[in-house]
């Protein structure tokens, strides 16, 4: 008995029962909506606060998020190279609401990126970051509901994305000088 599979079927079995939930899941689950909203929030944070100290800390948060994003991508792709987990629709009887992605199911890259961006925004703006974390959680639930991931895939993705931001933020002695250089360069070209 695989608890991951049981939880997956518990969520996926609801597909088709309430049409409105299916529509909402489709609106959230696609590759464009949530990642673009997250990136947009990050772009907004870059320009937020005119006080120079606060603006600098916001812009540092954006650069830290971008470094963490790179780290997230490389960790997920390294795991994919070591371990391949078939998608739920390959091995199980699934009600699919999405197309059939071909890459490994574990860990979920879109969820890792969403949690990375949400955690990064949270470094600069707690309230907006919390809203984005809720959106990222909905994205994760929708991916399982739609039949493209197992719960463990999205949990691992969330942990990697969130963890990378916290690691990079903790390594301030490395990340802050990089962030300051990027901010100086951006200001030279009038980007903020």
């Amino acid at each position: 008995v695989n608890p991951d599979s049981i939880l997956f079927h518990a969520l996926n079995s609801f597909v088709g029962t309430v049409p409105m939930v299916d529509i909402l899941a489709k609106a959230v689950v696609n590759d464009y909506a949530v990642p673009t909203i997250m990136a947009l929030a990050l772009a907004g944070i870059w320009f937020l606060d005119s006080e120079s100290d606060e603006q600098k800390s916001n812009q540092r948060a954006v650069v830290i998020t971008l470094i963490a994003f790179g780290l997230t991508l490389s960790i997920v792709k390294d795991i994919w190279n070591i371990y391949y987990r078939p998608r739920p629709f390959v091995t199980e009887d699934v009600k699919l609401l999405f197309y059939r992605p071909s890459v490994s199911s574990f860990p979920s890259l879109p969820i890792a990126v969403a949690f990375c961006f949400a955690a990064g925004v949270r470094l600069a703006n707690t309230r907006l970051g919390a809203c984005l974390l809720i959106l990222a959680a909905l994205f994760a639930a929708a991916r399982v509901y739609a039949g493209v991931h197992y719960p463990l895939d999205v949990i691992a993705g969330a942990a990697i994305g969130d963890g990378c931001v916290h690691i990079v933020a903790r390594l301030a002695f490395v990340s802050n000088p990089i962030a300051d250089r990027v901010i100086t360069l951006a200001k030279r070209f009038h980007y903020g």
Partner: protein, 121 residues
């Protein structure tokens, strides 16, 4: 660059338009919140409203016109490249439009003054 194939050029163009327009919107929202005249196109409240409208309409347009949302389309790397290019173009565009509108307003001070309500005796 090896990752950028753009197998679906129409979708790439549509996604670029979504990013560009919504970034213009988010810049207006942020500038309105922090009163940064360098990027503000209109008065503070009007700019905030314009920003929110730009974001909402660009998302509504993309998700109602783009038919390939639920089929494999743009790869992650392509989306990042399009978003970054939209950002790089949207920031100077915002500044340029703000400067042009400010000049336009200063060129027609009478039009602005005529809108000011005459004090009643």
């Amino acid at each position: 660059m090896d990752l950028l194939h753009f197998d679906s050029p129409t979708q790439a163009v549509n996604y670029f338009i979504l990013c560009f327009t919504s970034i213009l919107g988010i810049i207006q929202l942020s500038a309105a919140r922090t009163n940064r005249h360098k990027y503000l196109w209109l008065e503070v409240r009007a700019s905030a409203l314009l920003g929110a409208t730009l974001i909402a309409t660009s998302f509504a347009w993309f998700f109602t016109t783009e038919e390939g949302i639920f089929i494999p389309g743009l790869a992650g790397g392509e989306m990042i490249a399009l978003f970054m290019s939209a950002f790089l173009i949207a920031v100077p565009t915002s500044h340029l439009v703000a400067v042009l509108l400010a000049r336009l307003r200063s060129s027609f001070p009478l039009a602005r003054a005529s809108r000011v309500k005459e004090p009643t005796l």
